[in-house]
C-alpha cells in the first residue's frame, strides 16, 4: 500500500525539532547517530493512525494533535514527600526505589538499599558512555516501530536493571516515573531489565503525577526485558496519572528456557493509554502470565495490545484482563497469540472482560489467534456485561445499600485479576487504589 499521507503538525514538529533538542540529551557520538537514525525511521512513517490495523481503535494522529516540548532535564523542586503522595497507596510500601522526575533520574529521591543482587544504573549514564544498545529496536508486527523510534530519538533516562544469577528478592524494586511541574511536556523514558539465570524478583514501574502538576502531558515509555534460563520476574506496571495525559508504553519481553514471566498492568485516571506488550518465547518450557485491570471513566481511553509469540515448543501463556468502564470511557483489548509451526505442545489461554457501568461506555475486544502447529491447546474469551441485577438484589436484601453493593461486586470482579499479583504489599496497595477509584466514581452512578 502506497498512500501519500499529509504529515500532521505534531509529526512535523517532532521530526523538525530533533536537531536542537538532541544536543541537550545524553549520549556520545554513537548514541547521537542511533538517535538520528531513529528520528529518520519515525519521520518516514509518522504516528500510527487508524488505517493501520493494530491502531484502528487508537488513532494517535488524532490523539497527539500537538507536539509538546521534549523533557530534557528536570528543573522542578520535587521532594520525596511529593513523590510519596503521588504514589498513593504504593507510596506506603517500604521498598527500594529508583525515581525519575520528568524523565530524569533523581538520585536524591531514590533509595536502592535493600536491592541486594540487583544493579541499577541510570540509562543516561550508559548513553553518555556510548552504549546505544536497543535504540534500534522495532516492532513491525504490531505497528509499534514509530513509537519505539520516537522513544530512541528522544529518550532522556531510565533504569538499567541487572539481576545477578540466582538472586532471590522478596522486596519489590520500584521504578517510579513522576510527572511534575506546570509545563506540559513529552517525557521519554526507557528501561532495560535483564534477569539472570534462576533469579526471582519483582519489579514495578509506577507512573504517577505530583498533585497540582499540569494535567496535560505525553509519556512515551519503553521497557526491554530479558529473562535468563529459569529466571522468574513479576513485572508490574501502575499508571494512575490523574490527568488527561497520553500514556504510551511498549514492553518487549524475551523469555529464556523454563523462565516465568508474570506481568500485571493497572491503568486508571489516564486520558489516553496504550499499553503494548510483546512477549517472545525464546526457550522451551517457559511460562507467561499477563494480566491487568483498566478503570476508565469520563472520556478516558485505555488500550491494551498484546502479542504473544510462541516461537518454540512447550510454552504456556495465560492472559486475563478486567476492565470497569463508566461514563463515555472506552476500553480496548487486542490480544494476538501466534503459535509458530514448531511450537508444539503450546498451552495458551486468553480472557478479556469488561464491566459496563454506563450505556455510553464502549469496549472493543479483538482476540487474534494464529496457530500453525497442530498439537496445541489454545482458547480465548471475551465478555462485556453490566452488573448482575440478581446479585445486586441479593446483597441489598441482606441490608447492604446500593452504592456499597455495587462497589462490592465491582471489587470482586477486578479482584480476580488483582489476585494475580504475587507480592502481598503491592497486591493490597493496588486493591486499595481500585477501591479509592470506585469510591470516587463508579459506585455512585447507576
Amino acid at each position: 500500500m502506497n498512500v501519500a499521507v499529509m504529515k500532521t503538525k505534531a509529526e512535523m514538529t517532532l521530526a523538525e525539532t530533533f536537531g536542537s533538542v538532541a544536543e541537550a540529551l545524553p549520549g556520545g557520538a554513537e548514541v547521537k547517530a542511533a538517535r538520528a537514525a531513529a528520528i529518520g525511521r519515525f519521520a518516514a512513517g509518522g504516528l500510527p493512525h487508524r488505517r493501520i490495523e493494530e491502531w484502528k481503535y487508537t488513532d494517535l494522529r488524532g490523539v497527539m494533535k500537538d507536539a509538546l516540548p521534549v523533557a530534557v532535564g528536570d528543573e522542578t523542586k520535587t521532594t520525596i514527600a511529593d513523590v510519596i503522595v503521588a504514589m498513593g497507596a504504593i507510596g506506603r510500601i517500604d521498598a527500594p526505589r529508583f525515581v525519575l522526575v520528568n524523565g530524569r533520574y533523581r538520585k536524591d529521591l531514590s533509595n536502592l538499599s535493600g536491592a541486594s543482587g540487583i544493579t541499577v544504573t541510570p540509562l543516561s549514564e550508559k548513553l553518555a558512555e556510548g552504549d546505544a544498545s536497543g535504540l534500534d529496536a522495532t516492532d513491525e508486527d504490531r505497528g509499534a516501530s514509530a513509537l519505539l523510534a520516537l522513544n530512541a530519538a528522544y529518550v532522556s533516562d531510565g533504569a538499567v536493571i541487572e539481576v545477578k544469577d540466582g538472586t532471590k528478592l522478596d522486596l519489590p524494586l520500584l521504578v517510579v516515573h513522576v510527572r511534575a511541574g506546570a509545563v506540559p511536556q513529552l517525557s521519554v523514558g526507557r528501561n532495560r531489565i535483564v534477569v539472570g539465570k534462576g533469579a526471582t524478583v519483582t519489579i514495578a514501574e509506577i507512573f504517577v503525577a505530583v498533585p497540582g502538576s499540569t494535567v496535560d502531558g505525553q509519556v512515551n515509555s519503553a521497557s526491554e526485558v530479558q529473562l535468563g534460563e529459569g529466571a522468574s520476574l513479576s513485572h508490574i506496571k501502575v499508571a494512575t496519572d490523574l490527568g488527561s495525559v497520553t500514556h504510551l508504553a511498549n514492553w518487549l519481553v524475551e523469555l529464556g528456557g523454563e523462565s516465568s514471566y508474570r506481568a500485571f498492568q493497572y491503568t486508571s485516571s489516564v486520558g489516553v493509554a496504550r499499553n503494548q506488550l510483546r512477549a517472545t518465547f525464546k526457550g522451551e518450557h517457559a511460562k507467561l502470565d499477563i494480566s491487568g485491570v483498566f478503570l476508565g471513566r469520563k472520556s478516558e481511553h485505555i488500550d491494551t495490545t498484546l502479542f504473544v509469540d510462541h516461537a518454540v515448543p512447550h510454552g504456556e501463556s495465560r492472559e486475563l484482563f478486567k476492565g470497569v468502564l463508566d461514563g463515555e470511557a472506552r476500553g480496548i483489548f487486542q490480544g494476538k497469540v501466534i503459535v509458530r509451526p514448531d511450537a508444539q505442545k503450546t498451552d495458551g489461554k486468553q480472557m478479556a472482560q469488561a464491566l459496563m457501568l454506563s450505556e455510553t461506555a464502549e469496549f472493543d475486544s479483538k482476540p487474534e489467534l494464529e496457530i500453525y502447529a497442530d498439537d496445541v491447546v489454545c482458547g480465548h474469551g471475551s465478555t462485556a456485561a453490566e452488573l448482575d441485577h440478581d446479585l445486586l438484589f441479593y446483597l441489598r436484601a441482606r441490608g447492604i445499600p446500593l452504592d456499597q453493593a455495587r462497589a462490592l461486586l465491582i471489587q470482586s470482579f477486578i479482584g480476580e485479576a488483582i489476585a494475580k499479583v504475587d507480592n502481598t504489599a503491592l497486591r493490597e496497595a493496588l486493591m486499595e487504589e481500585a477501591e479509592t477509584w470506585l469510591a470516587s466514581s463508579a459506585a455512585k452512578s447507576v
Partner: protein, 251 residues
C-alpha cells in the same frame, strides 16, 4: 405484625397478574406456613415482601409493624427487620463469606442505630452461630456460596438470618434440595430463632418441612389468592388430598 392487604402484583412490563388480592395477617411470635401448587405465586409473594424490583404492586399494601414497606428499597426493608431466605441462594464469586456477613450485619446495625461489630466481636458471634448450624468457619473464608452443595447453601442462608437478627423471616422453599439430615439442621436453626418478637412466613410445597418447623397457621395459596386457612392439621390434609380442589376454584 405483618399485614398484607388486598395485594395485587404483576411482573413489570407484563400484563398478567400473579397475585390477585392477597389478605394475610401474621402476628409477632407466630409462624405461618404458605402452601400451594407450583406457579401459584408463592415465590412472587416472597420476592415482593423483600422488595425485588422486577415486580409491580398494582393495588393493596404491605404493612410491617403498622408501617407500609412498599416504597422501601430492599436494604431499607432489611434494616426494618425483613429477611428473605432465598430458594436458590446466589453465588458471589470474589466476595469472601466473612466479608459479606460482616458488611451486611454492620449495614443493618448502622441503620438500626446499633453499634457496629468490631472484628473480634464479629468473629465471636459468627463462630457461635456457625457452630449451631454445623458450618465450618473455614468455609466462610471462601467466596459466598461458590462451590457449596445445596444443603450448604441453605445452611449459609440460615446463618445470614441468624447474623442479621431479623424480626420478619420469610423462608422461600427452604426445604428444596435438602436431604433428611440437612433438613433437620436447617429446621433446628430456624426453630432456634423462633421468639415472641419474631414473625415467620414459611413457604413450602410439601408438608415434610412442617413436621420440623411446626406452624401456628397454614394458608393455601393458589391462583394468586389465599384459598383456605387453618391450623397445622391443614398441611396434613393437603398431603393426602393434594391441591386439585383449589385449582377448580380458580377465579
Amino acid at each position: 405484625m405483618l399485614e398484607i392487604k388486598n395485594l395485587h402484583v404483576k411482573i413489570a412490563d407484563e400484563d398478567a397478574e400473579i397475585l390477585k388480592g392477597i389478605d394475610l395477617v401474621v402476628p409477632k411470635g407466630e409462624v405461618h406456613a404458605i402452601m400451594g401448587p407450583n406457579g401459584s405465586g408463592k415465590s412472587t409473594l416472597a420476592y415482593v415482601l423483600a422488595g425485588r424490583e422486577d415486580y409491580e404492586v398494582t393495588d393493596g399494601d404491605i404493612l410491617w409493624n403498622g408501617e407500609s414497606i412498599l416504597e422501601m428499597a430492599p436494604d431499607e426493608r432489611a434494616a426494618k427487620g425483613v429477611f428473605l431466605a432465598f430458594q436458590y441462594p446466589m453465588e458471589i464469586p470474589g466476595v469472601a463469606g466473612l466479608t459479606f456477613l460482616r458488611t451486611a450485619a454492620n449495614a443493618v446495625r448502622k441503620k438500626r442505630g446499633q453499634e457496629e461489630l468490631t472484628t473480634p466481636g464479629f468473629m465471636k458471634l459468627v463462630k457461635e452461630k456457625a457452630a449451631e448450624l454445623n458450618i465450618d468457619v473455614e468455609m466462610l473464608k471462601r467466596p459466598v456460596n461458590v462451590g457449596f452443595s445445596g444443603g450448604e447453601k441453605k445452611r449459609s442462608e440460615i446463618l445470614q438470618m441468624a447474623m442479621l437478627e431479623p424480626s420478619l423471616c420469610v423462608l422461600d422453599e427452604t426445604d428444596s434440595g435438602l436431604d433428611i439430615d440437612a433438613l433437620r439442621i436447617v429446621s433446628d436453626g430456624v426453630n432456634a430463632l423462633r421468639s415472641p418478637e419474631r414473625a415467620m412466613l414459611v413457604i413450602t410445597h410439601y408438608q415434610r418441612l412442617l413436621n420440623h418447623i411446626v406452624p401456628d397457621k397454614v394458608h393455601v395459596l393458589a391462583y394468586g389468592k389465599i384459598r383456605k386457612s387453618g391450623g397445622k392439621e391443614l398441611a396434613l390434609e393437603l398431603e393426602k388430598s393434594g391441591y386439585a380442589e383449589f385449582q377448580k376454584d380458580a377465579a
